[in-house]
């Protein structure tokens, strides 16, 4: 025994044991425990808790002049789009440099088509036949095509009345939790809620929506009629694979297509759910402004949603108008719209790869529209839509698109949400650290990914 000598005294040893035990106990105490669904529904932990730096605000970070903002639609005389933007992705007129913009778009589109065709012929990774087939498979039910016609208002379901019970009732907060929990199961990562007012109604397409004091909504030709009593709007997030969208224009990039395939499925599941509770659900509305107004995202320079959780990697936030009483959720300020002032990565990436860009590279947002394809009344980076090829370069390059495993991302989001002074540095570091679109060597590697550990293939993305 005399040969053994420890520098740790018995007191120090017991002290160390006690510290370790206290630490384990603290971790255990912090874990939430629910005993039943009722407790879950009213628990603050059941809400979708966002980090502290994502703040709810009364007005969205994008400045809106509601007094001059009017309903906007394609081919709609009051918004001067009959000639300039008669339909989605269709442009006419000779003012606003429209012809030059359209010529650029046609050229960029042809260039990208040539790249894809050449890649297919040469079996280039990302452009090869199997990649194109991947896109074909992912396109099943995209935009609902292939689904049997579903009436406005959804399929018939068994209602509480049919079951001989009263329809679901609870507090608006409980309703939010419940709808969010169901929506998450159906494939929507988050929901937001709005209440209709005169301004929110401006965010619906006037040619295809109107409101009436009726008991049940209906379709009047091409116009969807929403009952006045449906005072609430549920916006739900349809995500888009961040990893696959980083493939740029390669055929392997099926992110957008896949999102548009999930969207109608989630919509119909959620509609059936709400109807089975005893309430109504009616589709419609402009997803980007509605999603911003209910706090799912902020408006990015690229005129898409940019969320604090997934960056621009959500496909869209469709809306359902309902008479289920819900608790409206506020717009958010996570410093994202402000970050866009100095970042410009979406625009410079587009410019570098396409030769020019429809994304405004101005240093500040403006109310001055680039043409009637922009709606009046929003101070933003006005997008030159006739020039836009709708390719995914901008979408995949946003620095807020991160997988969120490395802790640096949370640190940067926290700092940029609190102060904008480091935003330029962070944007530069995004490029210095090599984030952004994937290289071609990643395209081939994707087919050999380890499926036992690959975390990026789920129905939620």
């Amino acid at each position: 025994m005399s040969k053994f000598h420890s520098t740790v005294t018995r007191r120090d040893f017991m002290r160390g044991l006690g510290l370790a035990g206290a630490g384990i106990g603290a971790v255990a105490a912090a874990a939430p425990v629910f005993h039943d669904l009722g407790e879950l529904a009213t628990s603050p932990k059941a809400n979708y808790k966002r980090p502290w730096y994502v703040k709810g605000v009364d007005e969205p970070t994008v400045e809106i002049n509601w007094s001059i903002l009017e309903p906007w639609d394609w081919g709609y005389a009051p918004s001067n789009t009959v000639i300039y933007n008669p339909y989605f992705n269709g442009y006419g007129g000779t003012e606003y440099g429209r012809e030059a913009s359209s010529a650029f778009k046609a050229e960029a589109s042809q260039r990208q088509t040539d790249i894809r065709d050449a890649g297919l012929a040469a079996n280039t990774p990302g452009y090869a036949l199997r990649d194109k087939a991947l896109a074909t498979g992912a396109g099943f039910l995209s935009f609902g095509s292939g689904l049997a016609p579903i009436p406005f208002g959804g399929q018939e379901v068994t209602t509480p009345e049919d079951l001989g019970v009263t329809k679901w009732s609870g507090t608006p907060e409980e309703a939010n939790n419940m709808v969010r929990a169901a929506a998450h199961f159906y494939g929507a990562a988050n929901i937001g809620v709005l209440k209709f007012d005169a301004n929110i109604k401006k965010l619906y397409y006037p040619k295809s929506t109107r409101w009436e004091d009726v008991d049940v909504g209906y379709q009047d030709g091409r116009v969807s009629v929403i009952p006045d009593k449906c005072q609430y709007i549920i916006c739900y997030v349809v995500r888009q694979s961040c990893e696959i969208t980083k493939r740029g224009i390669a055929a392997q990039n099926v992110g957008g297509t896949y999102g548009y395939a999930h969207g109608p499925i989630i919509q119909n599941r959620l509609t059936r759910f709400i109807k089975a509770l005893g309430y109504q659900a009616w589709t419609g509305g402009m997803n980007v402004p509605l999603g911003i107004m209910c706090g799912l995202s902020e408006l990015g320079r690229l005129n898409h949603h940019v969320t604090p959780e997934w960056g621009s990697m959500i496909r869209y936030t469709p809306a359902l108008a309902t008479d289920l009483p819900l608790a409206p959720t506020k717009p958010i300020d996570a410093g994202i719209h402000k970050f866009c002032d100095v970042c410009k990565i979406c625009g410079t990436t587009c410019q570098e790869l396409n030769g020019d860009t429809p994304i405004s590279l101005d240093d500040e947002p403006t109310y001055e529209i680039s043409g009637p394809w922009n709606r009046v009344g929003v101070k933003k980076y006005q997008h030159n839509w006739p020039k836009c090829n709708f390719c995914p370069y901008c979408d995949g390059s946003c620095p807020f698109n991160v997988h969120g495993i490395a802790s640096i991302h949370e640190v940067i989001k926290m700092v940029s949400a609190t102060t904008p002074i480091f935003n330029g540095f962070f944007a530069n570091m995004d490029e210095f650290f090599g984030y952004g679109l994937r290289d071609e060597e990643d395209f081939a590697a994707w087919w050999d990914r380890d499926l036992n550990t690959w975390p990026y293939d789920t129905t939620l993305i």
């Binding site: 520098t7 740790v8 160390g16 370790a20 630490g23 802790s407 650290f433 090599g434």
Partner: protein, 91 residues
């Protein structure tokens, strides 16, 4: 995993304190501060290195080794050297 890392780091720190006491080595408050900052930076580097590889961002992973890993090592060595040289000068 982080619970285990925390337990290991805690155990190593306790062992270090015990060893310093056993050798009667005094460490000033600023040497402790430099050492702790270096250790935190090292842990930050390791987390981001592993996390960046998991995010399929190898360039970012190697950048962390350079941008935060190197300063972490410098701080740790500095803390050690400050205490060591002060002890040698005093003895």
């Amino acid at each position: 995993m982080w619970l285990i890392i925390g337990l290991v780091v805690g155990a190593v720190l306790l062992a270090l304190v015990a060893w310093l006491r056993g050798r009667d080595i005094k460490v000033t408050w600023y040497e402790w501060l430099i050492g702790v900052v270096g250790l935190l930076l090292l842990l930050f580097t390791i987390q981001n290195l592993v996390g960046s590889f998991a995010e399929l961002e190898p360039t970012a992973a190697y950048m962390f080794l350079l941008v935060t890993g190197l300063p972490a090592l410098i701080l740790l060595v500095l803390a050690w050297q400050l205490a060591w040289r002060r002890r040698r000068a005093g003895s």
